[in-house]
């Protein structure tokens, strides 16, 4: 290998990772600032600024042709920009809603923002990776930061449980992933995803499929697919709510993006389809059935996020480019819905334990008392069910339509029946918000006098923006779909003209 041109090549590739550089550098600056002044009030602004700057940069990359950078380690171009915008947007939202919430919990440390920034760097790497090495490095960078964020409330038993459980199970799942990567590398002799598919001109060895299976298990943990979902409710409940929102969206988005890249580029055929279909079935069933009986909103949303992972696996099971781009579109819609929902919960928190003990009933009457937050929450819930004219409906369309065209109609019917079931627990939130008052609920569920803080206008605006965005995604979505399809169309074109 000739390394003489390596440095110049890498120098030229630097713009491709502009977001990672900006966000990573901001993380280092935040740590320095925290060292000089505890809880420097400028830190959240700096973080938001870094996210905003990176988003601006990525927005200009949306139309560019797909390419790779750093010796084909990372993917760049329109697809990468889409995933990065999603992750960075989640980071920006989290930064906007976190300060008032963390201040109430007395946890508004600068380190939180540094971790947020570093986790984002890992996510970007994971979501745009083109080799199994960058998949692993990105995943670990992300996960280590998330373990700490989950255990942020270290004096609270729920916080300890959250952090510890996430760490132990996460480390365990990484083992599966690593073993899978080893098997895939061992059988193909390459780490580059696009080269793997062509590595077997005469029949795929079983060992390769074993590797793929282990990788799917590893990702199953990260995206909380059943039966690898056990950690999800406890971790989501014990972690600070705004960070839960970030975990449940950005980390899932980047993990799903990486899984899509592996399935699309590395697999020689769609033989994983049935496995993914079964995974989808179990995940939808577990998520929806368990969510029915949750009294705690955060746990309910945790199970709901499991259910939504199941829907996304339906799209992956279709094994077509339409399915993959449908899943990418759904990731966006899902991210907006869930971030918003967790954002509302964070802004209405009052128990001083990150809402760990906060029941659904504690939201009674909030819809009329806080009209903007209430209406936004109603939009998120309707969208999560999949009602038009919100993004959730279009997302479900793009999930289920490719599956029908791939002959998985039975799975689609089951998935839609589970969506109908989900109507029960999402509508319960709306009825508590609008059709009950504090007088209707038990004493223990009532907020203490003045318990609900007046949310900061910036945080409220960020939540309302999510609701508006869902409405926009439900009506004018065709541009976004074009972007998600571009990756696969252009990838095909590239493959055909070597």
């Amino acid at each position: 290998m000739d390394l003489s041109g390596a440095f110049t090549a890498m120098w030229a590739d630097l713009p491709a990772i502009f977001s990672m550089l900006i966000v990573g550098a901001a993380g280092l600056v935040v740590i320095l600032m925290e060292a000089f002044q505890n809880r420097d009030p400028r830190i959240p602004w700096l973080t938001a600024g870094a996210f905003g700057l990176a988003m601006g940069w990525e927005a200009f990359q949306l139309g560019t042709a797909p390419d790779t950078a750093f010796f084909e380690q990372l993917r760049t171009g329109g697809y990468a920009a889409y995933i990065n915008l999603l992750i960075l947007g989640a980071g920006l939202f989290t930064t906007l809603v976190s300060p008032p919430y963390l201040r109430r919990l007395n946890r508004n440390f600068g380190e939180v923002y540094a971790l947020l920034l570093f986790a984002t760097v890992g996510m970007i790497m994971l979501g745009t990776s083109n080799t199994l090495i960058s998949v692993f490095v990105g995943l670990e960078t992300m996960s280590v930061c998330l373990y700490i964020m989950a255990g942020l409330l270290r004096e609270d038993e729920g916080g300890i449980e959250s952090g510890f459980k996430y760490f132990v199970l996460g480390a365990f799942s990484t083992g599966f992933l690593l073993y899978g990567i080893a098997l895939m590398y061992g059988t193909t002799g390459t780490m580059h995803l696009p080269e793997m598919a062509g590595a077997f001109p005469d029949g795929v060895p079983l060992l390769f499929w074993a590797g793929v299976g282990l990788v799917i298990v590893g990702f199953g943990f990260k995206v909380s697919a059943a039966p690898f979902h056990m950690w999800t409710p406890d971790v989501y409940q014990g972690a600070p709510t705004t960070l839960t929102g970030y975990m449940s969206t950005a980390s899932k988005a980047s993990a799903f993006a990486a899984l899509i890249l592996i399935l699309f580029f590395a697999l020689p055929s769609a033989q994983a389809s049935l496995v993914l279909a079964v995974l989808a079935l179990i995940t939808m069933a577990v998520g929806n059935v368990m969510a029915l009986r949750q009294a705690n909103v955060k746990r309910m949303l945790a199970y709901s996020s499991i259910a939504h992972a199941g829907y996304m696996f339906v799209a992956l099971a279709s094994g077509t480019t339409a399915g993959y781009s449908g899943a990418l579109f759904y990731l966006l819609v899902y991210t907006v819905m869930n971030l918003g929902a967790f954002g509302v919960l964070a802004l209405l928190e009052w128990d001083g334990m990150a809402g760990r003990k906060q029941t659904l009933s504690s939201l009674a009457g909030m819809g009329l008392e806080r009209p903007v937050l209430g209406a936004s929450m109603a939009v998120f819930m309707f969208s999560l069910i999949g009602f038009p004219p919100f993004g959730g409906f279009i997302g479900k369309y793009y999930i289920f339509a490719p599956a029908v065209s791939a002959g998985l109609t039975w799975l689609v019917i089951i998935g839609l029946l589970f969506s109908a079931m989900s109507g029960y627990y999402y509508l319960r939130v709306i009825y508590v918000l609008y059709m009950q008052t504090a007088a209707d609920v038990a004493e223990a569920d009532r907020a203490p006098e003045g318990g609900f803080a007046q949310p900061a206008w910036l945080s409220t605006a960020a939540v309302a923006l999510c609701a508006v965005l869902l409405l926009v995604l439900g009506v004018a979505f065709s541009g976004v779909v074009d972007v998600t399809e571009m990756l696969f169309i252009q990838a095909d074109a590239m493959a055909q003209t070597p």
């Binding site: 080269e195 697999l267 769609a270 009602f387 002959g407 109609t409 019917i413 839609l416 509508l427």
Partner: protein, 559 residues
């Protein structure tokens, strides 16, 4: 004059009104804006009525069609496509007419959160008119689901004591049906799209041009019919209806009975029959039996209700049984009767709910035993009640008679049902209707005035008179001279029946050809078999599947 935009105006004017309401401060200004919007919408819909010409064929395009593409990306033929034909023109008019009536009826009934209530009411009207005018299946689905959200809030916030149970039950019942239907929509869209070489299509005209293989028709018909049967509601799926009706505020009940239920029967007529003619005819007897059970069972339950509102609710189950019976008789008379009966039921049952609501506003009870002898204290209200009851019971000379008579006549002649016994049983529903309705009138308005507080009850106010008058006039006009209304619908019902017949034969022929070629020369006709959409649970070739994940494998450059 550009009529195309008028259809969209009728749909979206209420939505604009709803948005305008949100900015208004006082309850008075909100009410007047809501009233103004609905009246304006009604006037605009009169324009639709004037512009609609029954002599112009709608076999290729609805009239005053408004098409806007670019909603979905290229390669997916889903578009904003609305228009008017004989099937929906009267239903649209009924919806826009009930709009101002419902606003007026809620004037004092709604005591809190005016802004939310009237905004949701207007949003609901947008949804319902959209459902009736949509000529694209996905667009229809969007409007169909859109009606659920406002209705959920209207029942849940402004309803009676058990409102939350009723609201959630209402939404979940509909949701199960409509989400199953969505699976059917996706499958049908791909099947028709790949057969016609356009990928995915839900254009109504493309779909009725596509003959679905018999095996596929059965399950598709089942999921579509289930969604609509829940909405109608057909026995035994009707249990959500009494709960929703009794708990809803008067305005909500009127919309629910007047137009929301019609979305089910309209869906059966618009989609189930022309899309799946063979399956529909095979299932006709089964559905007709359920409809007749609904007619009689609903009537018997109505008879024993002590609560006047519940009585009217059960009468809806009974009356809509007639509509379903008429739809599945597959004769011109019965189908026209069904369309007319949808309108009639909207008018007379709407009127009954309004009148029961007026009594409730005065005494805050709906139990018939709390009334009695009201005729002497509220003579005007009594007159309207008797008129509405007689119209609902199908007295000749009033509107109810026309529809029921045509349905029963057409069903007797039906070769698909071919069961005079069944129709004879259905006819008993007319008698039972007279029994339970007259029973209610007797107990409430005649006999002795047992409760003293009823003696000083105020009669109808000017507002109440104004909102009842149009309905009463329509009952008389449609009863005495139904011909103009029938003329509006006839060309379309004829077209539908012709389409159903032609497709019915085409599907059977295709099936026979397939079996014949399979037995005689299996090799020669492989292409035919493959080009037909595959049955459920099997892989289906489509245009969208061009870039399967195997493609990069086969062609990626090896380094």
């Amino acid at each position: 004059m550009d009529f195309a935009a008028l259809t969209s105006l009728v749909i979206f004017l209420p939505l604009l009104g709803a948005l305008a309401l949100l900015a208004l401060p006082s309850a008075e200004s909100i009410k007047w804006t809501a009233l103004g919007t609905t009246v304006l919408t009604f006037v605009a819909s009169i324009g639709l009525f004037m512009g609609y010409d029954p002599s112009v064929s709608t076999a290729d395009m609805p009239q005053m069609a408004h098409v806007v593409g670019g909603w979905f990306p290229e390669g997916v033929d889903v578009k904003y496509f609305v228009g008017i034909d004989g099937l929906n023109i009267l239903l649209v008019l009924l919806t826009t007419l009930l709009g101002p009536i419902v606003v007026l009826s809620s004037w004092y009934y709604i005591e809190h959160s005016h802004k939310g209530y009237y905004a949701l009411l207007l949003l609901l009207q947008t949804g319902v008119t959209g459902v009736f005018m949509a000529f694209d299946l996905v667009l229809f689905y969007v409007f169909f689901e859109l009606t659920l959200i406002p209705m959920y809030f209207i029942i849940g916030i402004w309803g009676g004591e058990d409102r939350i149970y009723a609201a959630i039950k209402f939404v979940l019942y509909t949701l199960v049906g409509s989400l199953l239907m969505l699976a059917g929509v996706l499958f049908l869209g791909y099947a028709a799209g790949s057969a016609q070489g356009i990928g995915f299509t839900t254009d109504w005209y493309n779909l009725i041009d596509y003959t679905i293989p018999l095996g596929t028709q059965t399950w598709l018909f089942f999921v579509f019919a289930l969604a609509f049967a829940i909405k109608v509601p057909l026995f035994p799926l009707h249990t959500w209806l009494p709960d929703a009706h009794v708990q809803a505020p008067t305005g909500g009940s009127v919309i629910l009975a007047g137009v929301l239920l019609k979305m089910g029967t309209y869906g059966l007529l618009r989609f189930c029959l022309p899309f799946f003619p063979n399956a529909a005819q095979s299932a006709a007897v089964l559905i007709a039996v359920l409809a007749v059970i609904g007619i009689i069972y609903g009537a018997l339950l109505a008879r024993v209700q002590p609560d006047a509102k519940k009585l009217v609710a059960y009468s809806s189950v009974s009356h809509l049984g007639f509509v379903v019976l008429g739809i599945f008789a597959f004769t011109t008379e019965a189908m026209q009767g069904a369309v007319i009966q949808m309108i009639n039921h909207g008018i007379s049952t709407g009127a009954l709910f309004l009148l029961v609501g007026m009594l409730y506003e005065r005494r805050h009870t709906r139990l018939m035993e709390d009334y009695g002898g009201l005729a002497s204290s509220v003579p005007v209200l009594t007159t309207f009640m008797i008129l509405s009851v007689l119209a609902s019971a199908g007295l000749p000379g009033l509107n109810g008679f026309v529809g029921e008579f045509m349905i029963l006549l057409g069903s007797f002649k039906s070769t698909v049902l071919d069961s005079p016994m069944l129709i004879a049983l259905a006819t008993s529903g007319v008698i039972l209707a007279a029994v339970y309705l007259l029973h209610m009138v007797y107990n409430t308005f005649f006999g002795e005035l047992t409760h003293t507080e009823n003696a000083e009850m105020t009669d109808m106010t000017m507002r109440e008179f104004v909102l009842m008058a149009p309905l009463a006039i329509l009952m008389l006009v449609m009863g005495f001279y139904p011909q103009p209304f029938l003329n509006q619908t006839q060309p379309t019902t004829d077209f539908l029946l012709e389409t159903i017949e032609a497709k019915h034969i085409a599907a059977i022929e295709a099936e026979q050809e397939a079996t014949a070629s399979a037995t005689h020369s299996p090799a020669g006709h492989v292409e035919d078999v493959e080009s037909a959409p595959a049955p459920l649970f099997e892989s289906m070739p489509t245009a969208l599947r061009t870039a399967a994940p195997s493609s990069p494998a086969s062609s990626s450059p090896t380094r």
